[in-house]
């Protein structure tokens, strides 16, 4: 099993749900984060004085999937999250050694099917 972590624009969250359905995935977890990358934050003016915000709000989506699903999921995320502007985000893939479904006690890939 692999874990896919995608750091994407918040407004793309609605579309993430579609990935689940279309790829018949089992689950997804989403966190609000603040990110900083090539997109260097933004400026606000408070009473005329410039304030630099170094971090921009992003969404982190985590999906644990089976090895053979990784490519299609990553491709699907790239497709929905792409705008072409700086700040589109990144996807990271790492290894998951075991999974357990709490409700049933199943473990291994069964837990995420």
């Amino acid at each position: 099993m692999k874990k896919i972590e995608a750091y994407i624009r918040p407004e793309k969250l609605d579309d993430m749900k579609e990935i689940l359905d279309s790829l018949k995935l089992n689950g997804l977890s989403v966190t609000q984060i603040m990110g900083c990358g090539n997109q260097k934050g933004w400026k606000e003016f408070v009473r005329g004085t410039q304030i630099d915000y170094n971090f921009v709000p992003k969404i982190k989506a985590e999906l644990v999937v089976m090895d053979e699903q990784v490519d299609s999921v990553v491709n699907a995320i790239v497709r929905i999250a792409y705008t072409g502007d700086v700040g589109d985000g990144k996807i990271f893939v790492s290894n998951i050694e075991n999974a357990v479904r709490i409700r049933t006690g199943e473990s291994g890939t069964k837990a995420i099917q």
């Binding site: 609605d14 609000q32 400026k43 003016f45 971090f55």
Partner: protein
């Protein structure tokens, strides 16, 4: 106007004033988190713009002289009428009256902005409400309260069912359609992001409405007391009937529902507060909820227009029902300003005039909205933000601010 009246009129003016911030929270809580600043600003801007315009031209156009029964003149430009501060002068030639009425001129255009929330350019909105005040609000205020044609035909409107609610509600519908839908409309119609704020706003609206309706007696007299009570009872009744509908239709009574019920109960009693008996205010409030609920859930769905926060469904429809209810329940013994009793007391003449007044108000609102929309489109080159701006939220795109910047992780 005696000194007790001055005390009550100033108090009422302060109460009506706080309704606009109340509205800002009522609306602001109902939108997505990324749009609350823009939504609050859309109401707040009227506190500045509406005040200055009123003092310069608005009061004069509404209450000085009469041109064809449709609008006043500019003789009181800059409020330079005689005896400016003589508190004992009779209406309308008194500054206390000008203050009280100013608060109405502030909140009415602010009401419209709920319909276009989450997608209209702020600069366009500023142009729109400026023009709209001139082509819709001042004329209507003149026609109803300044001795114009709606007064002449004998229709009554105690505190602004036509002037405030039907006008803003209908204009909201037209503007929402002209503006077009939000990007995700249909997928995720609503996203109230802060329901306690919705309730805070509704509570401030109810609180302020005591001045809105109670102050419309223009004196600290029995009529003010009466209007205060009918106002409270209609709000209470509508809140309960809305919750009962929700309980039946969806299983659970909600706080957004309770807040909505309060507000439409207040809307519905506005034209009749000083004309109908207390028992009628129970009925007025009890019926406004099913009527508005039907429009919001069924009619809006059917026609698919994107009236973001249901300004038409609440203020337009609620105001129309209120105007009709006044024609049904008015009682001359409560307020002799009504020339006839309502239908329930056996006279149909008033109801007919109420319907005529509603129709005229709708016509003016529709035409005026087209004009204001046209001018706004010209001046600001299109009135809708880009999809990208919708995505990132109007707080960032229009105001460069985030409402709760610590929310995601910064302290």
């Amino acid at each position: 106007m005696n000194y007790a009246d001055v005390s009550w009129m100033l108090t009422s003016s302060a109460l009506v004033f706080i309704m606009t911030p109340g509205l800002a929270f009522f609306y602001g809580g109902l939108v997505k988190r990324k749009n609350i600043i823009n939504t609050i600003m859309s109401s707040a801007i009227m506190m500045g713009l509406g005040s200055i315009m009123w003092v310069l031209v608005g009061f004069s156009l509404s209450f000085s002289g009469d041109i064809g029964g449709v609008i006043g003149d500019l003789k009181w430009f800059r409020l330079n009428f005689d005896s400016l501060t003589d508190a004992t002068l009779a209406y309308p030639n008194t500054l206390a009256f000008a203050i009280f009425q100013m608060m109405f001129a502030i909140i009415t255009p602010a009401l419209i902005t709920g319909a276009v929330a989450e997608r209209m350019k702020f600069s366009s909105l500023v142009v729109f409400v400026t023009v709209w005040s001139i082509v819709v609000y001042y004329p209507l205020a003149h026609m109803v309260w300044g001795g114009g044609i709606l007064y002449a035909i004998g229709s009554v409107d105690f505190a602004g069912g036509n002037v405030v609610h039907i006008s803003s509600g209908v204009s909201a519908l037209v503007l929402a359609i002209l503006l077009g839908k939000r990007k995700n409309f249909g997928k995720a119609t609503y996203h109230p992001h802060n329901i306690p704020f919705v309730f805070l706003g509704a509570a401030l609206l109810w609180f302020g409405w005591f001045g809105f309706n109670g102050g419309s007696a223009l004196a600290a007299n029995g009529l003010a007391v009466h209007a205060f009570m009918t106002t409270n009872i209609s709000a209470a009744s509508a809140m309960l009937s809305w919750l009962i509908i929700e309980r039946i239709a969806n299983g659970k009574p909600t706080l957004v529902g309770a807040s909505t019920g309060m507000v439409i109960g207040l809307v519905a009693i506005t034209p009749g507060a000083g004309f109908v008996p207390i028992w009628a205010s129970i009925i007025t409030g009890a019926l406004v909820s099913p009527i508005c609920f039907f429009f919001i859930t069924a009619v809006k769905k059917k026609y698919g227009y994107d009236d973001s926060l249901d300004v038409f469904g609440c203020h337009g429809i609620g105001g129309i029902w209120g105007g009709i209810a006044t024609g049904l329940f008015a009682d001359k013994t409560i307020n002799s300003a009504a020339a006839w009793n309502g239908l329930f007391l056996g006279e149909g003449a008033l109801l007919v005039r109420q319907l005529a007044a509603i129709a005229i108000t709708i016509a003016i609102a529709v035409v005026g909205t087209f004009i204001a929309f046209g001018i706004a489109t010209l001046i600001t080159k299109g009135i809708k933000v880009s999809y990208k701006a919708e995505d990132s939220g109007l707080d960032i795109s229009e105001h460069g601010e985030q409402a709760y910047p610590a929310f995601n992780g910064m302290d």
